[in-house]
């Protein structure tokens, strides 16, 4: 690993990262960047694909994840990957999702340079858009982060408070904010040969204090893990059909959660298929079974079926929850379900590209008690 730093001028963190990105683009080593940039209204920051350094006014700290960046990279590379390198700036959860999509043959990393950014957390889309504080969300967050205060905590999406891992793994380059006084220096690490090669000729300075980064990374990981464990303990409560039915009561079966999920990539989702269209008499027959039949139908079937299809690859990005128009706190069931299922198969989504997705492989000598008895 090579460690360098970006010298921050006049405490201008965002400006200095943009200077770095402009140098990166001008170096010719990457032909374009996918990087979050605020829309003119400043109500949202979307990833933009950008090749002209003059047009670049990115905001990589903007605490918002409007949609899955992994799904965007999938869209851009699945048909044909780029001929020359493109840098994609991503948060850790989205890198994990991208790795899963690569395993599922839904994305291609050829000529994709992953630039991971330490993530302190993101706000729900509408909190970002209608931010109640005087400062912009980015400045408010940066200030809280520097002071190590928990002022921003109340604005974070709940899933971010207990992020599975806020530090990117599987990135070629990491921009590090933990373990450095980032109003002075931002850490730049190369984690692959591609990353090293790209950083080689950029005007960056060498990092001296690698130790403080290591310690800070461990601390933040421990803190989030602890919060996640606490949450898992609390959410033991949603058990049994009474509780489960009540939990999903507000679900209108709109499938927005699935649409937002990076892992649910199917071109035609089973739950949108004609399996659910039927003659009136079949609906009547189903009504007769229980005496009455709720519509829109099969909402819980969708939830549990979707869970069975994708939970092993769930990266806990919380985009499903953010997309729900009825504010169902989906992570309260998805995190426990992901935790238990992934443990059962000793599977770690997003960790290792060579690890096979559990449902496409098997061993003859496993789970022998299932099917016998």
């Amino acid at each position: 690993m090579t460690q360098k730093v970006i010298k921050v001028k006049d405490n201008d963190v965002i400006g200095s990262t943009n200077e770095f990105f402009r140098q990166l683009l001008s170096s010719g080593k990457i032909q374009a960047l996918l990087v979050p940039q605020n829309t003119p209204s400043k109500k949202v920051a979307f990833p933009v694909l950008i090749s002209d350094p003059k047009k670049l006014h990115a905001d990589i700290i903007a605490p918002i994840l409007p949609a899955s960046t992994a799904a965007m990279v999938s869209k851009m590379t699945k048909v044909q990957p780029p001929a020359k390198p493109i840098g994609v700036v991503m948060r850790s959860c989205q890198i994990r999702a991208l790795i899963e999509l690569v395993k599922l043959n839904q994305a291609n990393l050829i000529n994709i340079v992953i630039i991971g950014v330490d993530c302190p957390g993101t706000f729900p889309l509408n909190t970002y858009a209608e931010f109640p504080e005087k400062k912009t969300p980015t400045h408010f967050l940066l200030e809280a982060w520097v002071k190590k205060s928990d002022d921003a905590e109340k604005y974070f999406r709940s899933v971010c408070r207990m992020c599975k891992d806020p530090i990117p793994t599987n990135a070629d380059i990491i921009l590090g904010f933990y373990g450095t006084d980032f109003e002075k220096e931002i850490i730049v690490e190369a984690h692959s040969d591609v990353g090293k090669e790209i950083l080689k000729d950029l005007p960056l300075e060498d990092e001296k204090e690698g130790k403080s980064r290591e310690k800070a990374v461990k601390e933040i990981r421990d803190e989030k893990t602890k919060k996640r464990a606490l949450f898992l303990k609390e959410k033991e409560g949603i058990k049994g059909i009474d509780k489960v039915a009540e939990f999903f009561d507000k679900c209108v079966n709109c499938h927005n959660c699935r649409q937002a999920c990076p892992i649910c990539y199917c071109k035609e989702c089973l739950f949108d298929s004609s399996v659910f269209d039927a003659e009136a008499y079949k609906f009547l027959r189903r009504a007769e079974v229980k005496g009455l039949f709720k519509m829109p139908n099969d909402a819980l079937l969708f939830q549990l079926g979707r869970m069975n299809h994708m939970i092993l690859s769930c990266v806990e990005c919380g985009l499903c929850e953010q997309a729900c128009p009825n504010n169902i706190p989906l992570m309260e069931v998805f995190i426990p379900a992901a935790e238990n299922a992934q443990k059962e198969f000793d599977y770690h989504p997003g960790k290792d590209r060579t690890e096979k997705v559990p449902m496409i492989v098997y061993r003859e000598d496993e789970f022998l008690e299932v099917g016998e008895k």
């Binding site: 058990k239 049994g240 999903f248 709720k294 549990l304 869970m307 449902m359 299932v370 016998e372 008895k373």
Partner: protein
Amino acid sequence: MSEEKKDHKKEDFEPRIVGFLCNWCSYAGADLAGTSRIQYPPNVRIIRVMCSGSVDSMYILRALLEGADGVFVGGCHPGDCHYIDGNYKARRRMVLLENILGTLGLEKERVWLRWISASEGQKFADTMKEMTESIRKLGPSPIAKHWNL
């Protein structure tokens, strides 16, 4: 409440079981049980599938949510699947389904996977007896009285 109690009395309760049987083994096994006149409880409604590996969890879940008291999946013995590894994949899928049902406290004991070959008519009948009795002990599925799913 009293009416519900009456509906759900255990003694005179006949479990409704949905059985997905692989065409090449368990379905033929059920057939053999029939032609050999081996007695087994009539509680199982059989659906023939081409392979245990073709049973998406969605179909098992749908039976459960519609109020089935139990769901049975019958496949070829390990190593004998007509499509080479459908049953190994069915086994993994079953492990996952049971895990998720467990997380949500949804009585995974109501879902069974068993290997039964075309020549095992007796085993099919025995398994059906065993499952019917086991589900009878569990009582009616609490999901059956929920219409708001």
